[in-house]
C-alpha cells in the first residue's frame, strides 16, 4: 500500500496541534503538495478557508440577531480538513456529511448566497428553505446531505460508493462523520459492508474530540480510532486535520488509489472546533486554554504564513483577500435578506416524487 510505504520513508503524520507550517520545515510530503498545487491553486484553497471562516462568523452573528433559527453547527477551526479533502476530489465524486455542513458545502463550490439564504429559510436557499442549516443538499455538486441524525449519513454515502461500483465508474464517495458518529451502529454496519463489497468509500472521521459535550475518551473505548480499521479489514490512516497540506496529501492519495482499485479506507483527522457543538452550547466542558492552544495553530493562519513565506501572497494581497471574502459573505447576507420565504404552496410540494 502506498501509504504504508510513505510511513516507512519517515514521512510521519504529526500529532495534532504540533504542525507549524513554515517553508523551512515542510515535510517532503508537504513540499510535494506545494509543488503539485502551485501558487494559484493553493491561494484559491486558502481563500476557500477564509471564506468558510467568514461565513461561519457571520452566520453566528446572524443567529444572534435571530435571522437564523433552530440549530446551527459551525465549522470554524475545521477548514483545513474540509478544504483539503474536497480539493482532492473530482466534480463527479460524492460527498456526504453531518449537520456541520456549511464548510463542506462551500468547499464544494456551492454558492454562499444560496447557502446563507437556506440558513435564513428563504426559497432561494440550496434546499429551497425546506432543509435549513443541517440539510444542505446539492444535486449539482453531489452533496448528499446534510444529516440531522448522528451517523445517518454513513450508510447513505456508502450507497453512493456502491453506485460507483455498480456503474463501473472510478468515482469515489467521501463520507464525513464526527467522532460521536463512530459510536453509532451505522459506523459498524457501513464499514463492514464497505469492506466486504470493496466499495470506494473514504470514511473521514472529523475527530474534533468532542461529541457534543462528551470528550471522545469518554465515548469511545479506544482513543486511536484508526485501530478500528483492521477490525474491518481496511487501511486506517491518521492525518492532522488542522494542516491543509497534510489533509490534501493524504486524501488525494487515498482517492487516487481508490480510483484504480475500489476499496474503502478509514481516515482519522484530528481537528478542532472553536465553537461549541452548536450555537446554544456554551462549551463549558472545554478549558479556555485548550481552545486558545488550538487557535494558536489556527489552520488559516498557518497557510497564510506559508503563503507569505513562499512569496505567493503578501500582506496587502492577504488583506484584500480577506476583505473580498468578507464582502462576498456580506453580499450573501444581503441576498438572503432580500429573498422571499417559500410560497405557501410549497408546503405540499416535494412530499412525493412525481
Amino acid at each position: 500500500m502506498a501509504l504504508s510505504a510513505a510511513r516507512a520513508s519517515g514521512d510521519t503524520e504529526p500529532e495534532v496541534a504540533q504542525g507549524v507550517l513554515t517553508r523551512d520545515r515542510l515535510t517532503p510530503r508537504q513540499k510535494r503538495v506545494v509543488d503539485e498545487l502551485g501558487r494559484e491553486r493553493l491561494v484559491a484553497m486558502y481563500r476557500q478557508m477564509v471564506l468558510i471562516r467568514a461565513f461561519e462568523q457571520r452566520s453566528e452573528q446572524m443567529y444572534q440577531q435571530r435571522k437564523i433559527g433552530g440549530f446551527l453547527h459551525l465549522y470554524m477551526g475545521q477548514e483545513a480538513l474540509g478544504v483539503g479533502a474536497i480539493s482532492a476530489l473530482r466534480r463527479d465524486d460524492y460527498v456526504s456529511t453531518s449537520y456541520r455542513d456549511h464548510g463542506i458545502a462551500l468547499a464544494l463550490g456551492m454558492d454562499p448566497k444560496a447557502c446563507m439564504a437556506e440558513l435564513f429559510g428563504k426559497v432561494t436557499g440550496v434546499s429551497r428553505g425546506k432543509g435549513g442549516s443541517m440539510h444542505f443538499y446539492s444535486k449539482e455538486h453531489h452533496l448528499l446531505g446534510g444529516h440531522g441524525i448522528v451517523g445517518g449519513q454513513t450508510p447513505v454515502g456508502l450507497g453512493a460508493a456502491f453506485r460507483a461500483k455498480y456503474m463501473r465508474t472510478d468515482q469515489v464517495s467521501l463520507i464525513f462523520l464526527g467522532d460521536g458518529a463512530v459510536a453509532q451502529g451505522t459506523f459498524h454496519e457501513s464499514l463492514n459492508i464497505a469492506s466486504l463489497w470493496h466499495l470506494p468509500a473514504l470514511f473521514i472521521i472529523e475527530n474534533n474530540q468532542y461529541g457534543m459535550g462528551t470528550a471522545v475518551d469518554r465515548a469511545l473505548s479506544v482513543h486511536d480510532l484508526t485501530l478500528k480499521a483492521p477490525g474491518y479489514n481496511m487501511p486506517g490512516v491518521k492525518v492532522d486535520g488542522m494542516n491543509l497540506l497534510d489533509c490534501y496529501a493524504v486524501i488525494s492519495e487515498a482517492v487516487n488509489e481508490r480510483r484504480k482499485s475500489p476499496a474503502p479506507i478509514l481516515i482519522e483527522a484530528k481537528t478542532y472546533r472553536y465553537r461549541g457543538h452548536s450555537i446554544s452550547d456554551p462549551a463549558t466542558y472545554r478549558k479556555k486554554e485548550e481552545v486558545e492552544a488550538y487557535q494558536r495553530v489556527d489552520p488559516i493562519l498557518q497557510v497564510k504564513r506559508l503563503l507569505a513565506e513562499l512569496g505567493w501572497l503578501d500582506e496587502a494581497a492577504s488583506k484584500e483577500l480577506d476583505r473580498d471574502a468578507r464582502a462576498e459573505v456580506s453580499a450573501a447576507v444581503e441576498f438572503a435578506d432580500a429573498s422571499p420565504e417559500p410560497d405557501p404552496s410549497e408546503l405540499a410540494q416535494h412530499v412525493y416524487a412525481q
Binding site: 440531522g148 447513505v156 416524487a353
Partner: protein, 328 residues
C-alpha cells in the same frame, strides 16, 4: 385475457425478474436473497440469472443496508430492499423515516428516491411477538412514504412492478402465509396501479374493507356469509397510502354499512384512518357506526389458542356484519 395460475411467491419472483430484465438500474438486496435464493424463496433463481452485482446478499445490518439503498437511489440506481420480515425493518427506522421518507422534501425536490422496500409483514404461524408486527400504519404515518399491501398473486405481481417503476419510495408489505396461495395472474406485462382499491366481491348488504391476509380470509369465507344470508361487498384497498377512498365510499353509499378487518392493532391502526375517511365522506350514508375487527391489545402470544384468540377470524366478521345490519 390470458392468465397463468401461479402462487403469490412466484408472482413476486416474476415481477422482480421482469423488472430487473427491463431496467439495468434495478437491483435486489437483502439477507439471504442471493445464494440462499431467499428466505421464503421469493428471489429463487435471480442470482444465477442476474449475477452478484444485481442480487446482493447483505450482512444482518438493516439500518446500514437500507441507508446504502437510500444513497444508491439518490445517485440514480433503483434498489429493491428485501426485509426478511418487516419486523426487522424496525431496526432500519431511522434510515426509513429520516432519510427515505424525507430526503426529497428536505432537499427542496433535488433527490427523489426510486426505491422499494418489501417483505412479509404481519403475524405468520406461531412465530410470537417480535416476529408478528403489522407495520402498515407506522409507515403510512409519515408523509413521503407510499405503502402497498397486495392480497392476491395478481395484485402482488402488478403492485411490485408498479412500485419498482414508481419514483418511490414504496413500502410493500406482503404476507408469508399468502406466499403459497395460487391465483390467476394475467400474462404479459401486468401492472396494478398504485392508489387504486379493488372490489374483490360485489354485494349489496354490507361493505367489508380488508387488506392483505384479511382480504384473503374474508374472500375465502364468502360461502359462510352467503349461508347467513349476508351479501357482502369486499373492498380491498391494495394501497394503504394513498388510500382510494373513492372506491370505498362508492361501496358505502350502496350498502350503508361498514366492517373493517385488519391484522394490526386497534389504536392508530389502518382501520382508524379508513373509518375516519369514511365518516368524513359518507356520514349521511351510514345506517350504523363503522365496526372494526382488529388484533387484540396485547403482543402476540405463542400458544396456539391464545394466538388464535388475538387475531380476527371469520366468525367475528360475520357477527359484526349482522350487527351493522341490526340482525344480531
Amino acid at each position: 385475457m390470458e392468465t397463468q395460475q401461479i402462487t403469490y411467491r412466484e408472482a413476486l419472483n416474476q415481477a422482480l425478474a421482469e423488472e430487473m430484465e427491463r431496467d439495468p438500474l434495478v437491483f435486489l438486496m437483502g439477507e439471504e436473497v442471493g445464494a440462499y435464493n431467499g428466505a421464503y424463496k421469493v428471489s429463487q433463481g435471480l442470482l444465477d440469472r442476474f449475477g452478484p452485482m444485481r442480487v446482493l446478499d447483505t450482512p444482518i445490518a438493516e439500518n446500514g443496508f437500507t441507508g446504502l439503498a437510500v444513497g444508491a437511489a439518490m445517485t440514480g440506481l433503483r434498489p429493491v430492499v428485501e426485509f426478511m420480515s418487516f419486523n426487522f425493518a424496525l431496526v432500519a427506522m431511522d434510515q426509513i423515516v429520516s432519510n427515505a421518507a424525507k430526503t426529497l422534501y428536505m432537499s427542496g425536490g433535488q433527490f427523489p428516491l426510486p426505491m422499494v422496500m418489501r417483505g412479509p409483514g404481519g403475524p405468520a404461524a406461531r412465530v410470537a411477538a417480535q416476529h408478528s408486527n403489522s407495520l402498515e400504519s407506522i409507515f403510512a404515518y409519515f408523509p413521503g412514504l407510499i405503502v402497498v399491501a397486495p392480497s392476491t398473486p395478481a395484485d402482488a405481481k402488478g403492485l411490485l412492478k408498479s412500485a419498482i417503476r414508481s419514483p418511490g419510495p414504496v413500502m410493500m408489505i406482503e404476507n408469508e402465509i399468502l406466499y403459497g396461495v395460487s391465483g390467476a395472474v394475467p400474462l404479459g406485462d401486468h401492472t396494478v396501479p398504485i392508489g387504486k382499491a379493488d372490489v374483490k366481491k360485489t354485494g349489496r348488504d354490507v361493505t367489508i374493507v380488508a387488506h392483505g391476509r384479511m382480504s384473503y380470509m374474508v374472500l375465502a369465507a364468502a360461502g359462510v356469509f352467503a349461508r347467513e344470508g349476508i351479501d357482502i361487498e369486499l373492498v380491498d384497498p391494495r394501497t394503504i397510502k394513498p388510500l382510494d377512498i373513492e372506491t370505498i365510499a362508492a361501496s358505502v353509499r350502496k350498502t350503508h354499512r361498514v366492517v373493517i378487518v385488519e391484522e394490526g392493532h386497534r389504536f392508530c391502526g389502518v382501520g382508524a384512518e379508513i373509518a375516519d375517511q369514511i365518516y368524513s365522506t359518507c356520514f349521511d350514508d351510514l345506517d350504523a357506526p363503522i365496526v372494526r375487527i382488529t388484533h387484540t391489545e396485547n403482543p402476540l402470544p405463542y400458544a396456539r389458542n391464545l394466538e388464535a384468540a388475538s387475531l380476527p377470524n371469520v366468525d367475528q366478521v360475520v357477527l359484526a356484519a349482522k350487527g351493522v345490519l341490526y340482525r344480531a
